[in-house]
């Protein structure tokens, strides 16, 4: 740890526990819609599990969230515009990414060991559909407009995949709000994450909606 990491960004961001609950609730709503979209694409049930909201310094991005920065993951990243400017990242451990594309293309589980370019396109499309479901539910609820950019895919070390989405917001603020939802399919311990990183504009809308300003 370096000494700079003891800063309490939650205090700087000035969020109460109730406000953090509101952020988690938003994550639950968005991710539930995304999980439904994913379930219908894969023709089986994907459940959302735990949602947590984090307010962290951008230098803490690798510490608290998901473990080892050298883990190989696939990340589908979309910039979100309309009301404000936000980032949305869907992350899967690499093993689960292979299961996901096998399932998507109706191949027996375990067929893939690497991703073909067709698999990569499919992942982007899955990301896009889930992001639209996530963002539409938020936009309706908060009465704002949110559009995702075209999706970008990176298959690499977790640390490296996280950096761009976090730094892009870090250019504008010192701390970042990350709403993280885990989704699972129990049978194969399939796991993935949604990370929504709203900017202050949407954060304020959320607080107004839940009347926790």
């Amino acid at each position: 740890m370096n000494e700079a990491k003891s800063i309490d960004y939650e205090k700087i961001a000035n969020l109460t526990d109730i406000q953090k609950d509101a952020l988690r609730e938003i994550g639950n709503i968005g991710a539930a819609h995304a999980a439904t979209a994913l379930s219908s694409m894969l023709k089986e049930t994907i459940m959302i599990d735990v949602t947590s909201s984090h307010i962290i310094g951008i230098e803490d991005m690798q510490n608290e969230l998901f473990g080892d920065p050298s883990d190989k993951v696939a990340g589908v990243f979309m910039q979100v515009t309309g009301s404000g400017k936000h980032n949305l990242l869907m992350l899967f451990p690499f093993e689960n990414t292979l299961q996901l594309v096998d399932k998507f293309f109706n191949r027996p589980m375990g067929t893939s060991t690497e991703l073909s370019s067709r698999d990569e396109s499919a992942l982007c499309e899955i990301g896009n559909v889930c992001a639209c479901a996530y963002l539409n539910s938020l936009a309706n609820l908060l009465d704002i407009t949110l559009f995702p950019s075209i999706p970008g895919l990176a298959v690499d070390m977790l640390g490296a995949v996280l950096q761009y989405p976090v730094l892009e917001i870090g250019m504008r603020t010192d701390y970042i709000v990350i709403i993280q939802t885990e989704f699972i399919r129990d049978a194969d311990r399939f796991k993935g994450y949604f990370l929504f990183m709203p900017d202050d504009e949407v954060k304020d809308q959320i607080m107004k909606k839940f009347k926790v300003v």
């Binding site: 990491k5 310094g57 230098e59 690499d156 640390g159 761009y164 250019m171």
Partner: protein, 162 residues
């Protein structure tokens, strides 16, 4: 002799003397800045995130920025006994992880590389070698014994030494 391995975290920096290995894992658009005195075998590594202190001014952690990382590493190396004129620099990282982010979007990796080169030039520090840009994440390892910087990626088993 086995060297002690020290991890350099995002937004952090470490300076070490012989024999030590400094390591940063999973560098994407961030930049690993390495300064090294090959005679006294004193080296430092910073894992900087954004180009210029001036643009963010987060005084809680100036290592977050490329330019201030270079100043701080340089001063700490000299304090530990490195001779300023002998210090060389190596750079690794600054990737653009998501290929679709083409023209018009901010390429943070590229900006970090430029900021580092500009600051090194200003401080008259020689850039000995680099492995920067591209679209791959890197793990960067500095061996203080030799000054070699080993770079690993996930895509291939290849290991590169700069």
């Amino acid at each position: 002799m086995t060297s002690k391995e020290i991890f350099v975290e995002v937004g952090g920096h470490r300076v070490a003397t012989n024999p030590t290995v400094l390591k940063s894992v999973g560098i994407g658009s961030c930049l690993s800045i390495i300064l090294y005195d090959p005679v006294n075998r004193i080296g430092g590594m910073a894992h900087a995130m954004l180009p210029y202190y001036e643009e963010g001014r987060d005084s809680h952690n100036p290592i977050k920025y490329v330019d201030t990382s270079i100043y701080i590493l340089l001063d700490e190396l000299v304090n530990k006994g490195a001779i300023r004129e002998r210090i060389i620099a190596k750079l690794a990282g600054g990737a653009q992880m998501f290929a679709f982010l083409g023209a018009g979007t901010m390429n943070i990796g590229e900006r970090n590389i430029k900021a580092a080169k500009k600051t090194l030039k200003k401080e008259k520090i020689r850039l000995r070698s680099e492995d920067v840009g591209g679209d791959r994440g890197r793990t960067v390892i500095l061996d203080i014994v030799t000054g070699d910087v080993t770079i690993k990626t996930v895509s291939r088993d290849e290991v590169m030494i700069i």
